[in-house]
């Protein structure tokens, strides 16, 4: 069973992660990850998609995740320079404890992104996220984040912000 404390900690984590991503606070967002990070945004809604056979929008291990964050921090990642103005809502949270004690958290999101790098245009991003969270030194960290966009297989505008 999941304690109310755990449940609250997970919700707090999701809200904080969302806010750091929304506000382009790259270093703080980066610090939420474990060393064995996997950050996955499939290019399909097919639940059977295999990231080792099928093309993804993002399939980052820790090294590539580090590069992704560093690019944003150069000030020359022009697709996010200046950063998009964003706010995302998170809901429909469901939490399970896996056999190894890690928390597997499903949640839905709606993200409004005002793209300000060329035309000023609002993009809406909707999907379901699955986080895998683990306690490291008493704090929750994410080791796996999978974001399945409802329009994963459709033509997408730039997705170089942190989703």
């Amino acid at each position: 069973m999941l304690s109310d404390t755990d449940r609250q900690a997970v919700t707090d984590f999701l809200h904080r992660e969302a806010r750091l991503a929304d506000e382009a606070r790259y270093a703080e967002w980066h610090a939420l990850w474990t060393e064995d990070a996997v950050y996955w945004v499939p290019a399909t809604t097919d639940p059977g998609a295999d990231p080792d056979k099928h093309l993804s929008h993002i399939y980052d291990n820790r090294a590539r995740l580090d590069t992704r964050v560093k690019l944003l921090q150069t000030g020359h990642r022009y697709s996010q320079e200046p950063p998009s103005l964003m706010r995302r809502l998170i809901s429909n949270i469901e939490i399970e404890r896996a056999d190894d004690g890690e928390l597997v958290v499903g949640s839905n999101f709606i993200l409004a992104e005002l793209s300000v790098q060329a035309d000023h245009e609002m993009h809406w991003w909707v999907g379901r996220t699955t986080h895998r969270l683990r306690r490291v030194g008493g704090e929750l960290k994410m080791c796996h984040k999978k974001v399945v966009l409802v329009n994963a297989a459709e033509p997408l505008p730039n997705l170089s912000f942190l989703i």
Binding site: R64, L72, G75, Y78, S79, P155, L156, P157
Partner: protein, 420 residues
Amino acid sequence: MSLDAPAVDYKALVQDDRIHVSLYTDPRIFVDEMDRIFTRGWVFVGHASEIPRPGDYVTRQLGMQPVIMVRGRGGAIAVLVNRCMHRGTMLCTAGRGTTRTFACPYHGWTYDLDGVLLGVPYPGGYAAFDKGAHGLRHAARVASYRGFVFASLAADGPSLGEHLGRATALIDRTCDLSPEGEIELSAGWVKHRCAANWKALPENDSDGYHLGFVHLSLFKTVRSTQYQRVVGEEKAIKAVVRDWGNGHIEIDWSPGYQRPFEWLGNASGPAVDDFVARLERRDGAALTQRRVMQGPAHALIFPNLFLGETNVAIVQPVGAEECVHWHTPVFFKGVPEFNGRLLRMSEAGMGPASFLMPEDLIVAARNQAGLRASTVEWLELTRGLNRESIDAEGRGVSHVTDETTNRALWKHYRSVMAEA
């Protein structure tokens, strides 16, 4: 548009050293292009490996025309117009699938994989119905080269061989890297939306001048990218651009490469060793060494196929100010471990979340926004006119930062658009 609107004078708009702003913004020009380039000309549809078994199909667009590329029962590939011959309903709306027939959901007209009309419900309502006259419309011409399937909706015109000319060597460069001589496109496509005219994509794909600027974030972050050798001092840069004729254009980074697999992040390890060993069994050590030094082609096959090194990409027009860039990794037949490297390379380079294309497409969108300043009528296109030359094989060649490729693209564009 009134019927007596004067025809656009493409010879005036496309000059040898400058091009007119309306070519990127005028909806009337877009309509002309969809007819003259994407309906009458040869257009890349897809790769045979995408539909390996009878009944497999993918849906695509030739310009604005929706089509189905399908493998028939006998194994031949057909390109069918994706529209029921009764009332026009689109037959396939999925991107891909496998089927025995194409059945229209509206009144149940059903066609076989070759587009032959099999049956019409309640035939008593037709006095004399000729099923043979109501089969699905085929692309008038379909031809392929090493699995790359091209189609034209016009019955007449140059053959695919004439259109490709010697640019088949560019397709060979990529396919010959496969130890079995065949590539496979099986990883699925990512589609990246771009708020710019479609021609911005082939122009940028063949532009070696922008790298150190548009992609500065990458150069500041990753010390040894394959492009490191093309952002130094101008005279030290050895990479070149080439004009292969008929609008087919290339950037060749390889004169600047110093080691094998610079095009794959200096890849090494057992999967790479195995790949090299397989190539050596076929081609011997010397030719293999040359192939893995040079890497796959970086070239645009006019108008919509981009051989993007470890990717195949499609330029899909949407409207005068919108297009979509499709890409999928090139897989080599028989080397799944090595293909895993190509898959991750593809995600790094192309697509909306990659480390290169978002910058290309945001700059394209800024170009499109800037071109609304239509009181400034011309885009300048002179870079490299002072030093480009013709090589021994008759190809135009110049420094990688020169606009030789873009001029070649526009020259062919003018010949196609002004022909009508």
